[in-house]
Amino acid sequence: MRYLTLRKRAEGFGSAHTGTEHHWAMTISSVGLTFLVPVWLYIFGKALGQPHDVVVATFGSPFPAIVTALLLVVGMRHFAMGATVMIEDYTRGTTRKALVIGVTLLAWVVAATGLFALARMAL
């Protein structure tokens, strides 16, 4: 028997201090990526090895461009959050902070670069 009131158990969002927010965000993005990844693998695989004009035309057309843009934004957020958990498991202190900042910034840079490339090919 636990001598905790229901209110006490709910306060502070547990040991994570953010409740299930992280887990739920990963769940949502994983479901999205389950649909995006197979489609994008086909688009990218077909485009890889093609001449320059074919590649530009492919990623400049609506469907491949939208799938790639979604994959970059959803995928890079999913990566940054997952990599953060890995870093938090294996490192601590200043190393942990530096690595978490590093992967978060890397994820945004990769997403922004890809979106810029798509915009340039589509417009």
């Binding site: 990526l33 693998l41 890889l48 970059l72 997952g82 990599a83 798509l118």
Partner: protein, 130 residues
Amino acid sequence: MAEPKRVDRPISPFMIGPYYRPQLTSITSILTRITGNALIVGVVLAVWWLLAAATSAEYFAVADAVATSWFGDLVFAGSALAVWYHLLAGLRHLYWDSGRGLHIETAEKLGWACLIGSVVLTVITILLVQ
């Protein structure tokens, strides 16, 4: 107040090896993390290739030469295997989150499904897009 006692706790994964015998369920779990994080290599190469395509024909020639070289083939084939494994293992987590599939025999079957399924799907992907 007395000096707080600093406990130098070991850091993960200190258990593996001396205290913990690797088994299918734990190996397939750690593979989820390894594949997910390793995918950044393939993504960076793909995005660089896209940026080059958007920039100029000359720049594309450089990036395309790398992306279609033996090195590019290795990275993208490895990434295909990694992403399929990570996707199947992620589906396994969604199934577990629903409260199902947590018996050891079922969990081990799901582990084999991830390992074999990822290889099969990678072969299908490569055959489909080459």
